[in-house]
């Protein structure tokens, strides 16, 4: 495994290389709840094919930052851009996949795995439209990739933590997103399943044209992959970054394989499979 290298994200030079296009740009972002300043003067950019780990103690503003990035909160000052477009005007939400915290839903909620996965498709361009055969096939492929076809008709609340995680990952991947945002995806899940999940995420980072922003409190896991030194610190927030060039060079997209093959590749690798097949 090549040494992770740290990139200085504080300098904002004009970007020439298309491979390093900005996916998320934060400029002097500030936010406060009532009188309490949570985030102040935060400038940071997530570039294409970065894996960014965001670490911070409770109350450091991780969730606040995430909610601002996805447009649920507005920054008090400063600006946020997604794929080069100001967040307030951003429309291409299908380019972003989102994996929530495991306990963000009620376990009694009457929804099947399939219904949850299909909901990844329900965005602006599906308004007033019925679901098509092609949509059903997308769901089948996402379930196949995550090895959860057998669970399709189970209620989401009946699954184990690891299975639920894969369901939410499948939902996030159904649109073939370019940016995957994960909000503490490993909370409340046993270490073995966590390792399998992280292996899967790492694989996608190394072999797919995908950018990652993961909020976590698990220092070991983050540092193991992203290095010991945060690329940027702001207040109590720490950003760890690793850029991936492992498989493809800039401009070549055909190497990245589709969702369909993900499972085969993973099974071939056999690494971390014990927890994967649990």
């Amino acid at each position: 495994m090549p040494e992770p290298y740290v990139i200085d994200r504080e300098q904002t030079k004009p970007i020439v290389n298309t491979c390093h296009a900005d996916i998320i740009t934060l400029k002097d972002v500030a936010f406060s709840y009532q009188s309490q300043q949570v985030i102040d003067k935060l400038s940071f950019s997530v570039q294409q094919r970065d894996f960014v780990g965001l670490i911070g103690s409770n109350g450091a503003g991780k969730t606040t930052l995430l909610r601002m990035i996805v447009g649920l909160l507005k920054p008090a000052s400063g600006s946020i851009s997604l794929f080069g477009t100001p967040a307030s005007q951003f429309k291409d939400w299908h380019r972003i996949g989102y994996v929530p915290q495991k306990n963000s839903f009620n376990p009694l909620f009457p929804a099947t795995v399939r219904e949850v996965i299909m909901s990844g498709l329900y965005g602006r361009n599906k308004l007033f439209r019925r679901l098509t055969k092609a949509d059903q096939i997308k769901a089948d492929e996402a379930m196949h990739a995550m090895n959860i076809e057998d669970l399709a008709l189970k209620k989401i609340g009946q699954l184990s933590g690891g299975q639920q995680q894969r369901v939410f990952l499948a939902r996030a991947l159904i649109n073939n997103p370019e940016l995957l945002i994960l909000d503490e995806p490993t909370v409340g899940i046993d270490t073995e399943t966590q390792a399998g999940f992280f292996h899967l995420i790492k694989h996608m980072h190394q072999h797919h044209r995908m950018t990652f922003l993961m909020v976590s409190h698990d220092m070991d896991m983050i540092q193991g992959y992203l290095g010991d030194k945060p690329a940027r610190e702001c207040g109590k927030l720490k950003f760890y970054v690793r850029h991936s060039h492992d498989l493809e060079d800039c401009g070549e997209t055909n190497i990245s394989h589709s969702l369909k093959n993900l499972r085969q590749v993973l099974e071939r690798e056999k690494e971390g499979v014990t927890s994967w097949t649990s």
């Binding site: 909610r67 447009g71 299908h94 929530p100 009694l108 219904e115 308004l127 008709l153 939902r171 909000d183």
Partner: protein, 269 residues
């Protein structure tokens, strides 16, 4: 049995059948979003509106609707002010509504009896205007829910994911507030303000026990509510009982049967 063929009973049946579709459908979304108490609150506030309507001589259900709308916006505002104690806003608005209603009762002494009929429901006094209002509300609710059912599902299941998918979350929340106010003001004359929330929440409680998917739960709530409404009206008509109360007791009986059935199923399975 003559009652079953009488005109007022048939009007009651039509009104009941219509509300039996809309109230539980909306209630399902409210219950799943942990807003079970909102129905009660809006109903109590609309009673104040009904009282005001009688006082100033305007169609009471319309004034009740305006009050319910205002209350649902006030709840949203208060929910933001007391973020972590969101249910506090519901308690404040509910007592405010009852206080205002009792205040208005004392202003216009003559109509106390009529207002009471809105408290416990008076399905046999539905007139044609009431039926038209209920019919329009039903069509509006059914069309909007049919058009947006998948988006509402996502919004209810995971609001953040809905936002990341680019759905206009705030407009959907607004739409649900307006629809809830509409349904409640339309149904208080049928089951009464004190019992409206039963029609919103108990079918949803049944579906949480019985349904295996969201799709199934949508059908379950309507089926449960319609069975209770039809059977309740027939029983109440034949034995001369309070229709609103009978419907609610039947809903609770269905829920108990389902719960007992599930326990037995668990033991045998």
């Amino acid at each position: 049995m003559d009652i079953l063929t009488s005109e007022f009973f048939q009007r009651a049946l039509i009104g009941g059948l219509l509300i039996g579709v809309t109230a539980p459908l909306l209630g399902l979304f409210l219950v799943l979003r942990r807003l079970s108490m909102i129905g009660d609150t809006l109903a109590h506030v609309s009673i104040a509106g009904v009282a005001l309507g009688f006082l100033i001589g305007v169609y009471p259900i319309a004034v009740g609707l305006v009050f319910a709308l205002a209350a649902s916006f006030a709840i949203e505002k208060l929910r933001k002010a007391y973020k972590t104690y969101a249910e506090l806003s519901i308690a404040i608005i509910m007592s405010g509504g009852v206080a205002l209603a009792s205040f208005l009762f004392t202003l216009g002494k003559g109509f106390n009896m009529t207002v009471t009929s809105y408290m416990f429901g008076s399905i046999y006094t539905l007139n044609n205007t009431d039926l038209i209002v209920i019919g329009v509300v039903t069509v509006v609710v059914l069309v909007l829910i049919r058009l947006h059912v998948k988006e509402l599902f996502l919004l209810t299941f995971d609001e953040e994911a809905a936002a990341v998918n680019g759905l206009p979350v705030r407009y959907y929340n607004l739409m649900m507030s307006v629809l809830t106010a509409l349904v409640i003001s339309a149904s208080i004359k049928i089951v009464g303000a004190l019992l409206v929330s039963a029609l919103l929440t108990i079918p949803a409680a049944c579906s949480l026990v019985a349904a295996r998917s969201f799709r199934q739960s949508v059908f379950t709530v309507v089926l449960v509510a319609e069975v209770a409404v039809i059977a309740g009206l027939l029983i109440a008509g034949v034995w001369n009982l309070a229709p609103g109360g009978t419907i609610v007791l039947l809903l609770i009986a269905i829920l108990l049967l389902l719960l007992v059935g599930r326990v037995r199923f668990r033991i045998s399975g």
